[in-house]
C-alpha cells in the first residue's frame, strides 16, 4: 500500500503546484454558493420591499361605482389610473398598468337586488407586479364580499353564520426537522452523487490519459513500484478529489442556508436536528464505496483512452447517467418500490432518503451498503486486472 500512497502523494503535490486549479477546486466553492445565494436573497428582499412600498397601478372600469370606494380606501396598495390608450391586454403586457378591472355597468343595482354581478380582471401572469396586484385585489374583494354577504343576511333577518356553516382551522403537525429531513433526503443523495462524479472527473482524466499524453506514465512504470500500486494510488487520488469536492460543496451550501432562509431560527434548528453526527456518519459511510465505484469507472475509462479528449468523451456521458438516477430517485412513490433496494446506486439514494426522513431501515441500508462495497471491490479488481495489460498502458 506504500506505493499507492506515494503515487497519491505525487498527484496531490502536482495539484498543489497549480494555483488556478487549486482556486477553482477548493476556494471557489466556498465563495460561490454564499455569493450566489446571498445575492439572490438580497435581490428578493429588495424586490419584496420595493413591491411592498409601491401601490399597484390599476385601471378600474366601474360605471356604477360598486367597487371604486373599496379600492380608493387603500391608497397605499392601489393607485387608480386612467384608461390607457388602445387595447387593455396590450397595456397590461406593456406594463403601463399592473391590472385592469372591468365591472358590470349594472353592478350596484345587482348588489341592491341581492344578485350577482360580474367582474373581469386582465392580468399578465408572467409579471410579478401584475400577479401581486391580482393578489391584493383578491384580498380586498374577499373582505368586501364578506361585508356584502353579512349585509344581505342582515337584510333578510338571517344569522351571519348562515353563510359559514364550517370554519376550518388548519394546524401543521409536521415537525420542522422532519420536513427539513424530507427535503434534504430527496436532494442530498442527488447532489452528493453529482458532486462526487464531476469533482473527480477532471482530476481523473489528468492523472490517467493526461499522463499518457504528457508521456510521463512510462517514467512511473519504470520505477520499482508495482503496477497495481500505481493504479491504486491513482484510484485513491481520484476518489479523494471526488469526496473533497462533494464535502466542500456541501459545506459551502450549508453555510449558504442562512442566506436562503433569511436566517430563520426554525430552519436553522431543523437543519441542526437533521444534520446530526449519526445521520452524517451513515451518509459518509455509504458514500465512500459509491465514490470508489465512480472513481473506478473514471480510472478505467481514463487509462484505456489514448488522450484526454478520448477520456473526456468516454467519461462525460456518465454525468447524464448519474443525473438520471438522481432525478429518478427524487420522484414521488419511488421509495415504495421494494425491488429498487437491489438496484445499485439507486438503493444508496433511497436508503439515504429514508435516513433523513427519520424512516431509517437498517436492512435496506445494509443491503445498499453491502452491494455498493461489493460493486466497488469488483470494479477495483477489474480495473487493476485490465490496466495491467500492456495494451491499455502503451496505447497512445
Amino acid at each position: 500500500m506504500r506505493g499507492a500512497l506515494l503515487i497519491a502523494k505525487k498527484e496531490f503535490l502536482e495539484l498543489s503546484k497549480d494555483r488556478k486549479t487549486l482556486f477553482f477546486a477548493f476556494v471557489l466553492p466556498f465563495l460561490l454558493y454564499p455569493a450566489i445565494f446571498g445575492m439572490m436573497a438580497k435581490m428578493a428582499k429588495r424586490d419584496e420591499a420595493q413591491n411592498r412600498g409601491k401601490a399597484s397601478r390599476i385601471y378600474l372600469a366601474d360605471p356604477s361605482g360598486a367597487l371604486t370606494g373599496t379600492l380608493q380606501a387603500d391608497p397605499k396598495r392601489f393607485e387608480l389610473v386612467p384608461k390607457p390608450e388602445g387595447d387593455l391586454k396590450q397595456a397590461v403586457r406593456d406594463q403601463k398598468l399592473d391590472l385592469a378591472l372591468e365591472a358590470d355597468p349594472g353592478a350596484m343595482e345587482a348588489l341592491q337586488r341581492h344578485e350577482t354581478f360580474s367582474l373581469t380582471a386582465t392580468v399578465d401572469e408572467s409579471e410579478h407586479t401584475s400577479e401581486l396586484a391580482l393578489k391584493r385585489v383578491k384580498e380586498a374583494l374577499r373582505n368586501q364580499e364578506k361585508s356584502w354577504i353579512q349585509t344581505r343576511l342582515e337584510d333578510l333577518g338571517a344569522s351571519p353564520q348562515l353563510a359559514e356553516p364550517l370554519k376550518l382551522e388548519v394546524k401543521n403537525a409536521a415537525d420542522p426537522a422532519l420536513e427539513m429531513g424530507k427535503v434534504m433526503g430527496r436532494i442530498l443523495p442527488y447532489l452528493l452523487m453529482i458532486m462526487m462524479y464531476t469533482g473527480s472527473m477532471q482530476h481523473g482524466i489528468y492523472a490517467t490519459a493526461g499522463e499518457k499524453e504528457r508521456h510521463t506514465l512510462l517514467s512511473l512504470m519504470a520505477t520499482r513500484l508495482p503496477r497495481n500500486q500505481i493504479i491504486l494510488g491513482k484510484l485513491l487520488y481520484i476518489f479523494s478529489m471526488g469526496v473533497i469536492a462533494a464535502l466542500l460543496n456541501l459545506l459551502s451550501m450549508g453555510l449558504s442556508i442562512p442566506f436562503m432562509t433569511g436566517g430563520a431560527t426554525n430552519s436553522m434548528q431543523a437543519l441542526a436536528a437533521v444534520a446530526n453526527p449519526m445521520t452524517l456518519g451513515l451518509t459518509f459511510m455509504i458514500m465512500v464505496p459509491l465514490g470508489l465505484f465512480f472513481s473506478n469507472f473514471i480510472l478505467l475509462m481514463g487509462i484505456q483512452a489514448r488522450n484526454t479528449i478520448e477520456a473526456g468523451s468516454a467519461i462525460t456521458p456518465g454525468i447524464f447517467l448519474v443525473v438520471f438516477l438522481g432525478v429518478f430517485t427524487m420522484a414521488p412513490g419511488v421509495d415504495k418500490m421494494p425491488f429498487l433496494t437491489y438496484v445499485p446506486v439507486v438503493n444508496v439514494c433511497l436508503s439515504l432518503r429514508k435516513l433523513f426522513s427519520q424512516q431509517f431501515d437498517q436492512l435496506e441500508y445494509l443491503v445498499a451498503f453491502a452491494m455498493t462495497v461489493g460493486l466497488a471491490g469488483l470494479m477495483t479488481y477489474v480495473s487493476t486486472r485490465l490496466l495491467n495489460r500492456e495494451k491499455a498502458l502503451f496505447k497512445a
Binding site: K10, E14, R224
Partner: protein, 255 residues
C-alpha cells in the same frame, strides 16, 4: 548483467481497411549478454524492435517466449526487483512540468525507495554533472528538450542502478548536451555498470560502445565489438555495415 535467451514478442494490430487482425513479430528469438563495465550499442532502423527489446529488459513488457535476466532476476517473475536495479531512459518519457528538478528527483527517490537525504545528495550531484544545478529549483515548464532530457537522465540514475538502459539518449539534443551524455556513459562504464544504448548515431557507437548488435525485422545481427564488425564486413564505417546488413535482411525476408 543482462541476459536474453531466445526472446520473442509479437503484437496484434488491426487493419483499418480490412478490419482483419494482423500479427506483427516485433522481436524474433533475440539472445544476447551484456556484462558489467560494458556498453552495448543496439542499432537498427525505426520499427526494427529496439524499443520493444529494451522495454522487455526493463520489465515494462513481458516476452511471449524466452527469458530475460537482469541483475539475476527474471523479468517476468520479479519485474519490480528488475526495475529496482536498473535505470531506464526513453525518448518517449516526459517530465512533470509543474515540478522543479529537485522536487521531481525527491519524489522519484521515494518511488525507488532511496533515503531522502541520499536522494537529495545524489540528485544534486547528477544535476551538477549534467550542468543543470543552477536550474534545480526552477519549474520545468519552460525547459528546453535538452534540459528535460538531462532531468530524465538524472531521474533514471538517481537510485544508483547497476544496469542502465538508454533508449536513444541523444535524440533532439545539441552537440554539447549530447557530449555530456556520452561522457556520462563513459563514467558509468568506469563505475562498472552494465549499459545498453540504442541509437541511430553511428559515430557515437564507434566511439563509446564495447559491443554492437544490429536489429533488423526483430532479429539480432552482428553481435560483436565495432572494430570486429568493421573487419569482418570489410567496411570503413558502421554505416556501411548497417547498409550491408539491411540488404541481407531484405534478401532473407524475401523482399
Amino acid at each position: 548483467m543482462i541476459q536474453l535467451h531466445e526472446v520473442h514478442k509479437s503484437f496484434s494490430v488491426k487493419d483499418r481497411k480490412t478490419h482483419v487482425a494482423k500479427r506483427i513479430d516485433a522481436v524474433r528469438g533475440i539472445s544476447l549478454e551484456v556484462r558489467p563495465g560494458e556498453i552495448y550499442g543496439l542499432l537498427g532502423p525505426n520499427g526494427a524492435g529496439k524499443s520493444t527489446t529494451l522495454r522487455m529488459i526493463a520489465g515494462l513488457m513481458d516476452p511471449d517466449a524466452g527469458s530475460i535476466h537482469v541483475c539475476g532476476h527474471e523479468t517476468r517473475r520479479a519485474p519490480e526487483a528488475v526495475r529496482g536495479c536498473l535505470g531506464y531512459l526513453s525518448t518517449d518519457m516526459g517530465v512533470y512540468a509543474r515540478f522543479t528538478p529537485r522536487e521531481l528527483l525527491r519524489i522519484f527517490g521515494e518511488f525507488q525507495d532511496v533515503d531522502p537525504r541520499i536522494a537529495e545528495r545524489r540528485g544534486m550531484h547528477l544535476l551538477e554533472k549534467l550542468q543543470l544545478a543552477d536550474f534545480a529549483d526552477v519549474k520545468m515548464e519552460g525547459f528546453s528538450s535538452g534540459q528535460k532530457q538531462k532531468v530524465s537522465i538524472a531521474r533514471a540514475l538517481l537510485h544508483d542502478p547497476k544496469v542502465v538502459i538508454f533508449d536513444e539518449p541523444t535524440t533532439g539534443l545539441d552537440v554539447l548536451t549530447a557530449k555530456t551524455v556520452l561522457d556520462l556513459l563513459g563514467i558509468m562504464r568506469e563505475e562498472g555498470r552494465t549499459v545498453i544504448v540504442s541509437t541511430h548515431v553511428m559515430p557515437m557507437v564507434e566511439d563509446i560502445c564495447d559491443r554492437v548488435g544490429i536489429i533488423f525485422d526483430g532479429k539480432l545481427h552482428g553481435d560483436a565489438p565495432p572494430r570486429d564488425l568493421l573487419l569482418s564486413r570489410r567496411a570503413k564505417t558502421l554505416d556501411e555495415v548497417f547498409f550491408q546488413l539491411a540488404a541481407e535482411s531484405e534478401v532473407e525476408g524475401g523482399h
